[in-house]
């Protein structure tokens, strides 16, 4: 085997410290068939040309390069090997610049260490195996879980690229939480006006044909891996044919059954067949089976009789189980609000005048329970609204983080209350005020300049107590030096943003980890912010943490971009070959590796009773290799033989 050793002088940087001739002499007896050459800058175009030609001319079969760190130029030189007709993994670099020339005192010591490094590399490279990148075919379709801003933006972007996206939304409508808000921070833009075009685009736009929208649907299983997932989806019946319905809502008018409307947080009623609120999309009513008399076994068919289009209401519709293929998954399931009933002193759910921000949004909305009419006070003079910031935030007993959006919401309320009921006194009770960003301080400054708005800092949420007195809410703030009381007609609580209900179940079903707060965890929060810890599963929006619409849309766009650039139809998935390999005949099936693998790449073949590696999921860390008690797992390119040879040569 002819091994070529190439010594890069790095324009003198290396050769000033490490004597070339002594290196040549030191290598003389290491291997039988050694070819040694030196060059000034091996990484330059000229150097690479020299290397490629020299490899061919001298019939070199394995290559050692003594130069800079492999972290800098290993891939450069691997490409040169490929160009010269050699397998790129038949290369070993000796880091004689960063680890020797730059850090060793004395030429003699540096040269001797370089000889040891190069000898070790020669020994190691003689044990290298040629490795081949494998390729597999991929399914280019994308499954998006969640039909809020982030999910829809992702789906739309994918669809606009001519690719198919399947959106699975568990509620009957799309748009997520913001479609329930009439005006949005930071500019008080009309929410429906901003979001409806996006939703319309999804439902009826040019790319809509590429989007399959499944409402009232949930993912119940996910098998496979990046490039080739199989998802099972349960779809509950809507009982209304969405393709035929014209949205006249005569059915809802005729329906005799009603109950509290969860889309208005129980502040109004809805019929058993209804739309959640005016303007909800798709504009197709649905039947809540628990409320419907017919579905509860009674004779009623009022909706079907009222419907002008025969056959549109399908009371006999049943649940469906679907199986779909997808190459990638986007989790965009949104977030929820901290349950303020967990802070009993605030009286939420008990006192009539205490509402959460989400409820208050509905009270402000024209399509909400009061038609947007805001009643404050008993009519004698202007009333008072207290807005409590940081409910459950910045508090280790609840959530220690700041959600970063609640202050904006609170100052938006300030403006809207002012507009709807002029003269109202507004009190902001806060622990901290956070309004960062170029557009974001506008509403805050407005509130600060407002004559009828006051600010009051409270020490911690436990120091607040709210009680009912003569029809008004009395807020007690227990400061260190004494107690302050404020009477208000309405109290609005701004709770911390928390993971959406069901995140835990979804995470275990997708086998995608959550962070310590229960949000979906990114591969790397800053460098890889849309990739989950599982290859092929992407994250977008507030399922990752508190986020406003702008950030959620950005994340949706980014997730779509990542998928479009990585999962390309017709392009096969390249699998890097530095993975673990199980020798089935040595494996005892003990399962140690399976428990250790952080990427779920190790599976158990129940028939042969041995472990098997998924080359798609394996990232090549080698943890299983080191752990296998039977020595049945090989770490490609980092084999026991190669590493021990290197150790031995370094010490000889």
């Amino acid at each position: 085997m002819r091994i070529g050793v190439y010594f890069c002088r790095c324009g003198g940087i290396i050769s000033e410290k490490i004597r070339e001739e002594a290196v040549r002499a030191g290598l003389a007896a290491v291997a039988a068939d050694l070819h040694v050459a030196a060059f000034d800058f091996l990484c330059s175009e000229e150097g690479k040309g020299f290397l490629a030609q020299d490899l061919r001319e001298h019939g070199v079969e394995r290559v050692v390069i003594g130069a800079c760190s492999p972290r800098e130029h290993e891939s450069t030189f691997r490409r040169v090997l490929t160009g010269a007709g050699l397998n790129p993994f038949l290369l070993q670099m000796a880091n004689v610049r960063e680890q020797i020339a730059w850090v060793t005192d004395g030429e003699g010591e540096a040269t001797a260490k370089a000889v040891r490094y190069l000898r070790a590399a020669v020994r190691r490279v003689s044990l290298h195996q040629p490795l081949l990148k494998k390729e597999i075919a991929v399914c280019p379709e994308v499954l998006v879980i969640g039909g809020g801003p982030a999910g829809l933006k992702a789906a739309l972007t994918i669809a606009q690229a001519g690719r198919k996206a399947i959106v699975v939304e568990k509620s009957p409508i799309i748009g997520g939480l913001p479609v329930r808000y009439e005006e949005l921070f930071p500019t008080l833009e009309c929410g429906p006006c901003m979001l409806e075009p996006v939703l319309d685009e999804v439902l009826h736009g040019e790319a809509a044909a590429n989007i399959e929208l499944l409402t009232l649907a949930e993912v119940t299983g996910l098998k496979g891996f990046y490039g080739n997932f199989t998802a099972t989806i349960r779809r509950r019946p809507r009982y209304v044919d969405g393709t035929a319905c014209i949205g006249c809502l005569q059915c809802a008018e005729a329906c005799p059954a009603s109950a509290a409307n969860p889309f208005n947080y129980g502040l109004s009623e809805r019929k058993a067949i209804s739309v959640p609120f005016d303007g909800a999309l798709p504009n197709v009513p649905f039947i809540e089976p628990g409320l419907c008399l017919h579905l509860s076994g009674e004779e009623c068919r009022a909706c079907r009789e009222a419907c002008p289009l025969e056959g549109t209401i399908r009371l006999d519709e049943g649940e469906e189980l679907l199986e779909l293929q997808a190459g990638a998954v986007v989790v965009a399931t949104g977030a929820g609000l901290y349950d303020s009933r967990a802070i009993p002193g605030l009286g939420h759910g008990i006192l009539p005048g205490v509402h959460t921000a989400a409820e208050f949004e509905r009270l402000l909305a024209a399509n909400g329970p009061t038609g947007g009419e805001l009643a404050i006070g008993a009519g004698e003079g202007p009333g008072t609204v207290a807005i409590v910031h940081c409910v459950g935030s910045l508090d280790p007993a609840h959530r220690e983080y700041c959600s970063g959006i609640c202050c904006q919401v609170a100052f938006k309320f300030n403006q809207l209350i002012r507009k709807k009921v002029p003269g109202t006194r507004i009190v902001h009770l806060f622990r901290e005020i956070v309004v960062a960003g170029k557009e974001d301080s506008f509403l805050y400054h407005q509130a600060r300049q407002d004559e009828d708005t006051v600010f009051c800092r409270y020490p911690e949420i436990g120091a607040l107590g709210i009680r009912l007195e003569d029809g008004r809410m009395v807020i007690e703030i227990r400061h260190q030096g004494g107690t302050e009381t404020i009477a208000a007609d309405l109290v609005v609580l701004c709770p911390a943003v928390v993971p959406a209900e069901g995140s835990g179940e979804l995470a275990s079903l997708l086998e995608t980890p959550l962070d310590r707060w229960g949000f979906f965890e990114e591969m790397h929060g800053r460098v890889d912010p849309v990739q989950s810890k599982v290859k092929g599963i992407y994250l977008a929006g507030s399922c990752q943490g508190p986020m406003d619409i702008r950030q959620a849309m950005g994340q949706g766009l980014a997730a779509a971009g990542a998928i479009l650039s990585r999962l390309v139809p017709g392009r096969r998935l390249e699998l890097p070959p530095i993975t673990a390999v199980v020798a089935a005949d040595r494996c005892s099936g003990c399962g140690v590796c399976q428990g250790l693998c952080p990427f779920k790449a190790m599976t158990f073949d129940p028939e042969r009773r041995v472990a098997a590696v998924s080359e798609v999921l394996c990232q090549g860390c080698g943890t299983c290799v080191a752990a296998c008690p039977a020595g049945a797992i090989t770490g490609n390119h980092f084999t026991d033989a190669a590493i021990t040879a290197e150790i031995e040569a370094l010490l000889s």
């Binding site: 972290r71 680890q99 005192d105 260490k113 860390c621 080698g622 943890t623 080191a626 150790i647 000889s652």
Partner: protein, 145 residues
């Protein structure tokens, strides 16, 4: 004639992503450390089989150092944790072989911590210089199956 001063030989196992990059950083900043410190690159410290360490001692190392990404920073999520667990167990075995725990170190070095890398290996060398060469070498075959 005086005996040549004892210069301990060290093998360091460094993960590619943080600690090896930290060593590159020490290089770029030209922070010197003793010449008989040799680094073996693995993709993650989770790859370090305890038998590599025993092998190093058997082959003539006087000290071994394992340098990992800081907790939470491992490129493969938790390989550093595995390495830490294995290191703890290994220390017990080394003790039985008469190799003191000061000769086998585990530490965290990030890609930015070139100074720390040089300090850790410098300190190890200093301690072993004082302790002297490894009194007994383990059999080469220990740790093999």
């Amino acid at each position: 004639m005086t005996e040549p001063a004892f210069e301990p030989r060290i093998i360091g196992f460094l993960c590619n992503w943080c600690s090896y990059a930290g060593a590159d950083k020490a290089g770029a900043a030209q922070v010197p450390y003793p010449p008989h410190v040799h680094f073996v690159r693995v993709m993650c410290t989770g790859r370090i089989d305890p038998h590599f360490v025993l092998q190093a001692f058997a082959q003539g190392a006087d000290g071994v150092v394992i340098l990992a990404c800081h907790p939470g920073d491992c490129h493969y999520k938790e390989g550093n944790l595995r390495a830490l667990q294995r290191h703890r167990l290994l220390l017990r075995l080394l003790g039985q072989l008469g190799i003191g725990e000061e000769r086998c170190r585990f530490d965290y070095v990030s890609a930015a911590e070139g100074d720390k890398l040089a300090a850790v290996v410098g300190d190890l060398v200093k301690m072993i210089r004082a302790a002297g060469p490894l009194p007994v070498r383990p059999e080469q075959e220990i740790g093999r199956d």
